[in-house]
Every structure is written in C-alpha cells, then in structure tokens.
C-alpha cells in the first residue's frame, strides 16, 4: 500500500510503502530505506513505536487533512493520502502551494481589519486579514503570490478556529 506524505512547508509529497504484517508490525519503505516498525496505537491519539529497538512515544493531533506528529519534542505536520485519495484531490491541488490557497483563522478571535478586497493582486507574505485574540493582533499573510478570489472575513465579526477567511488563487 502506497501513501504520499506531504510535510507542511515542503512542496513535494514523499511516497511511503506500507505493508501491515499483523500484530501491530509494519514494513515501511521510504526514500529507499526499509524499516520494521512495531507501532501500537493507544487512546487519545498516542502511539508507542519501536523502530530497530529505538522507542518513540508519538502524539498525534488531527487538524483537518493534516496530522501533527509530536515525537521527542519535535512537531512535524503531514498530510497523508493513499493513491486513490490523491486522485480525488488532484483537482483541488491541496498538495501544493500552487493553485488555490485557502487562508483560515488559526484561532478563535475577532477580525479587526481586512487588508484586501476581491480581485486584488497580492504578493507572497503580504498581509490579508488581522485577527485579534487574547488582546494581541495577528496579521495573516498570503501563502503565495496571486489574486484574491474569495473573501469571507468581515471586519468586526467573531470567527471560530479554522474559519475560512480569504482564498488566494
């Protein structure tokens, strides 16, 4: 079974071949290297993973399509899909910063400023919307150069975590 794992911040997805051997054992091949992995999922998104005798306590946090992986103090975020799912997604180009990009609220708060309007050309890193939470203002920036095609954010309104704010295409 082949999975494609795209790490947040990376442009390319890395293929991983997974073969379940039963009894929580897996054969995993990535970048030409094969690992025998003993991975037991516990409750609350915790996994205990043994790889070549090394013990890793892994904590998962799902966030939409992405999963955050906390392992020995390091957090990495991956979007993992199998081939079929990848095909389903091909149209939306979610696996790359090319194409349509949705900017969402990273926390619940209040939209205090909207810096763009639909149709604006924006540069990568340009401020789009300012959200306030816990008395701090946070400017959300464009992940790519492009054009604002949709705008959900309204000044003065409260937004939930992950609320859609702007689409840049």
């Amino acid at each position: 079974m082949r999975y494609f794992t795209k790490q947040q911040g990376q442009k390319e997805a890395v293929p991983v071949d997974l073969e379940p051997l039963g009894n929580d054992l897996y054969k995993l091949t990535v970048n030409g290297q094969t690992y025998q992995v003993d991975a037991l999922m516990l409750e609350h998104g915790t996994m205990t993973m043994l790889v070549d005798g090394q013990s890793y306590s892994v904590e998962f946090e799902e966030n939409g399509d992405e999963v955050g992986v906390l392992l020995r103090g390091q957090v990495s975020r991956f979007d993992v899909a199998d081939e079929r799912r990848l095909r389903l997604r091909a149209g939306s180009a979610a696996f790359s910063v090319e194409g349509k990009q949705l900017v969402t609220a990273p926390m619940p708060g209040k939209v205090v400023k909207v810096l763009v309007k639909v149709g604006d050309e924006v540069k990568e890193g340009q401020g789009l919307v300012v959200v306030e939470a816990m008395k701090m203002e946070n400017e959300l920036k464009s992940p790519k150069a492009g054009k604002v095609t949709e705008l959900f954010a309204k000044e003065g309104t409260a937004v939930e975590n992950n609320a859609k704010l702007v689409v840049v295409e």
Binding site: M1, Y3, T5, Q7, V14, V16, L18, P20, Y26, L28, V30, N31, Y35, V37, A39, M41, H44, G45, T46, M47, M49, V51, Q54, Y56, V58, E59, F60, E61, G64, V67, V69, L70, L71, R72, G73, Q74, V75, S76, F78, V80, A81, D82, R84, R85, L88, P106, M107, P108, G109, A133, M134, M136, N138, N161
Partner: protein
C-alpha cells in the same frame, strides 16, 4: 485581629487555584468568582463556593469592585485575596474592602498609592535613598551644567532629545573627553530633527539584567527580603523564564540589593508580600525600576529555595501575625520556572486559545506544576494565555536546567499550540546555560530559539504519520457498512468520498 476563616479569591486560572490550595491546607474555606466565560474553569470547582460576577470581558466582571465585594459578602468571606493582575494593585479596591469590613490580603492602600505611578514611585525612592536609573528627566540648560551632571552619574551616558522618540536624537557618550562635542552635536541634531534643541541626560545601562527582590513585611514594621529572582529572559516585557539564585549575583550583591529593597518597602510602610524590581547593568550597578505590590507570578522559585509558602505568609500577615523570620533564609539549591503559554512561537507568538484535548503533566522528583487547566477545558480568548507555570528545584543550577528539560519533555498538551519547544530551546541555549543573559537575550536570539528540524526525527515522524493514516483509513473503512474490510476493496460508495463528505 481574628483568624481568617473564609477567603474569597478575586481571580481566576492558576493563581486562584494556587491561593486555594494553601487555604485548603490551612483549613480556610474558599469562595471563587467567575465570569460567563469561566463557568467551566477549574478554579470554580476547586473552591468551596462560587459566585457569578458578569460577562467575559474583565472590565465587566473581574474588575467590577462592587460585584467582587458583593460576592464576598454573600459568601460570608472575611478576607479577599486578589492574586496578581485584575484588582491586586488597585488602591481604591483596597479602600472599598476596608469600607465593607473585609480584610484585603495585601499591602495598605497608601503603599499602593506611593508605588502605583512610576514618577511618583521614582520620587519616593530617591527621597528614601534608593538608587534609580540616574537621569535629569528635565532638559539641561547649559553645557557646563550638563557636563557636571554627566560626570556625576558616570559614563557612559545617553543624550536624548526631549522632543524626540523612537530612538531618534539619541547619542551615547562613552567618556568625558567626548562630552562637549557630543552635546553640541546632539543639540544640533535635535534642532534639525524636531525643531527643538532641548536635550536631557540619562545613565546608559549596558546589557541590563532584570533582577527583583522579594520582600515581606508584617503589620508591625518588621520587614525582610527573601532573596532575588533573575527575570531577564523576557519577550516584550513578558517574563518567560525565571530563576533563583540569579547566576550573576554574589552574596555581597544579594545582601546589598536586599537591604535596598527592604529600605524601599519600609519607605512606603509596606505590609505583606511585595517585589522590588531592579535593573542591573554590566558593571553590576543596580537601579530601582518599580515595585509590584502583590504576589508575583514567579513566586514559586522563591518558595523552592526558601521552603516558605508565600501565600500562607500573606494570610498570616493579614491576620496580624508577627513575622516569624528575622532575616532572609540562605538560598538552598537552585530553582527555575518556565511559563507554558497557549501561543505559537513560530507564528510571532500568536495566541492559541482553544480546547485542550489531552494533557499529560510532568511528575517525579522536585517538579511543580501550577496550572488551571484540565483535559476537555477550553482556554478562553479573553484572558492571559498562560496555561501553566512549571518550576523545578535541584541542588545546582546545571542540575536544575537538566531537570527542567526533563520535565518539559514529559509535558504533553494537545488541541492547542504551546511554547514548550521554545522553552526547551531557551534552556538549551549556550547564553542561558552560561548564566549571563540580559533582557535582550530572547529578542536577539529569536531565530536560534525557534530551532531547527532534526531530519532523523522528521523521518520517524513521517513513518508514524503513515501508520496513522493507515489505521485511520482502516477505521473509516470499518465504520462504513458497504466497505470491504481491511485492505480496501472497491464495491459500493468509496470510503474516501464519504469521508470527504462528512467534513
């Protein structure tokens, strides 16, 4: 004064719980107050009683003096502990408590008045003979006067344009020989930039450290200090890591600063726990910055090395008990506190309120977690995003750092982003380990402190994410009646389509 039997804690979060813990140990009943956003908060459940005081914004609830006092009356509380923040340094609230016949656990209103406003505090301290950052604050008329003043406060000095701001019109003078020319240049620059050549002089502090002295006084004028705390690991004047003893203090400096702090407290007839903050420059001169007339967030490190319970001492002082100590206890070992915040250091420390889905708190020897959260709790976005103060003790500083690292490595908070990794990076930074880090440390080293990825760990995380995806997909497949079981199959509706639809 009679014994206190019930305390209303006019605060929320970890400090409310901290105070209630000591009350419980002393056999004193507790009453909590809560805003609409805090009905589910832990401090409500920790107290024996709880009273609603208004809508989420603090100015409509926790800061409304009358509501707090009404709650105390309703509870039959004979005392109010204000914690820190909120009404803790509000002299008019102290007077309102007095008027209502309720003991305020803290200093008298007059001491708050004397220390409350910066220039008034500065004037009071100068009068009491406490060193303040030397400076004229008013423009100086002639070169001669200015030179005499500069020599008096000692070089280097800063010349600052009275009409300026934002760093403009500032000029550092290293030595006396340069003074006259610098003075003239500064005046002409000021004139060009602001149309006003008024210049004033302030002592230039090189690599300043923030070192504060804990003081304690009873109602009879007995006043002692309880050693220092080093709080130079700051970000935007927000303390992030605190420790005691300060790695830059000698026993002589400790004694001298302690003596000055006691002098400052006595000058305002202080009662209870207070903190005198100093700036210490590279030459180890120290200058009064301000006095916090309340319990400090970072008081646990002082408790670790002295064995004292500052909250219990506050209560006893409020009951009119005489101070049991006559001088500062010798600091025993070393303690470090780190503040765990719901924030994302990689995104400019953006707050990360939200629901804590899973929580594992460190344990084992000499680790203390002061926290107000629990699994299932939603960190509201109305208040300070600090979710825990983690403090440790060890015989030496190096061991304390190692222990803090170990404890942080056990801390797991899921559902929200925290600064745990950033805290580990601070403790691992050579400048922190060396011990001589000034208040610019965190800002200066920001990029380094965000850390780099370990490619080996990323690869392990990648393997884990693949197993996670596999198990997720297996589970989804199983939960669909038409799915063909493990390994997939393609009859019926695609599990993927269903899974996507469900979003």
């Amino acid at each position: 004064m009679p014994k206190i039997r019930k305390v209303l804690v006019a605060n929320r979060g970890e400090i409310a719980i901290r105070v209630m813990r000591t009350c419980k140990e002393l056999g004193i009943a507790t009453a909590a107050v809560y805003s609409e956003a805090d009905r589910a908060a832990l401090h409500v459940r920790t107290a024996d009683q709880a009273f609603f005081v208004g809508p989420p914004p603090s100015r409509e609830s926790y800061l409304v003096q009358q509501r707090i006092i009404d709650a105390a009356k309703q509870a039959g509380a004979d005392a109010i502990h204000p914690g820190y923040g909120f009404l803790s340094e509000n002299a008019s609230f102290v007077r309102a408590c007095e008027a209502a016949g309720i003991t305020f656990i803290g200093p008298p209103a007059s001491a708050m008045d004397a220390m409350g406003e910066k220039t008034r505090a500065r004037a009071n301290m100068i009068k009491a003979g406490v060193p303040v950052v030397p400076g004229t604050t008013e423009p100086i008329a002639t070169l001669e006067e200015a030179r005499v003043y500069a020599e008096k406060i000692g070089f280097p000095v800063m010349l600052k344009a009275a009409g300026g701001g934002g760093g403009k019109g500032m000029r550092k003078v290293e030595r006396g020989g340069d003074f006259d020319s610098s003075w003239r240049a500064a005046k002409s620059e000021a004139m060009n930039a602001f149309g006003n050549d008024a210049v004033y002089i302030e002592k230039y502090l090189e690599k300043p450290h923030h070192v504060e002295i804990q003081v304690f006084a009873d109602q009879y004028g007995n006043t002692i200090h309880l050693n220092e705390r080093e709080c130079s690991a700051q970000r935007r004047h927000q303390k992030v890591v605190e420790e005691t003893p300060s790695p830059i203090l000698t026993p002589e400096m400790r004694a001298k600063m302690g003596e000055v702090a006691v002098k400052a407290a006595k000058a305002v007839n202080y009662v209870g726990a207070g903190t005198v903050e100093f700036l210490v420059d590279v030459h180890r001169n120290f200058y009064f910055l301000e006095m916090n007339t309340r319990l400090q967030v970072e008081h646990p490190v002082t408790e670790w090395v002295t064995g004292l319970d500052l909250v219990a001492m506050q209560i006893r002082a409020a009951e009119g008990e005489k101070l049991a100590l006559t001088h500062a206890p010798e600091p025993r070992g070393h303690s470090i506190e780190v503040r765990v915040y719901a924030e994302d250091p990689a995104r400019n420390f953006m707050p990360s309120p939200g629901r804590i889905t899973y929580l594992r708190v460190p344990g084992g020897p000499n680790v203390r977690d002061d926290s107000g959260v629990f699994p299932g709790y939603t960190v509201p976005n109305f208040y300070d995003p600090m979710i825990s103060k983690l403090s440790v003790w060890a015989p030496t500083r190096a061991e304390a750092i190692a222990r803090a690292q170990r404890a942080l490595s056990e801390y797991v908070v899921k559902g929200i982003t925290t600064n745990i990794r950033y805290l580990k990076a601070i403790l691992a930074h050579p400048e922190f380990i060396a011990g001589d880090y000034d208040t610019s440390f965190l800002t200066r080293e920001h990029e380094t402190l965000l850390g780099k990825e370990d490619p080996k760990l990323t690869e392990m995380a990648l393997l884990a994410s693949a197993v996670h995806a596999y198990q997720r997909d297996q589970k989804r497949a199983k939960s669909l009646p038409t799915a063909a079981g493990p390994g997939g199959g393609n009859g019926g509706v695609s599990p993927w389509k269903l899974a996507l639809r469900r979003r």
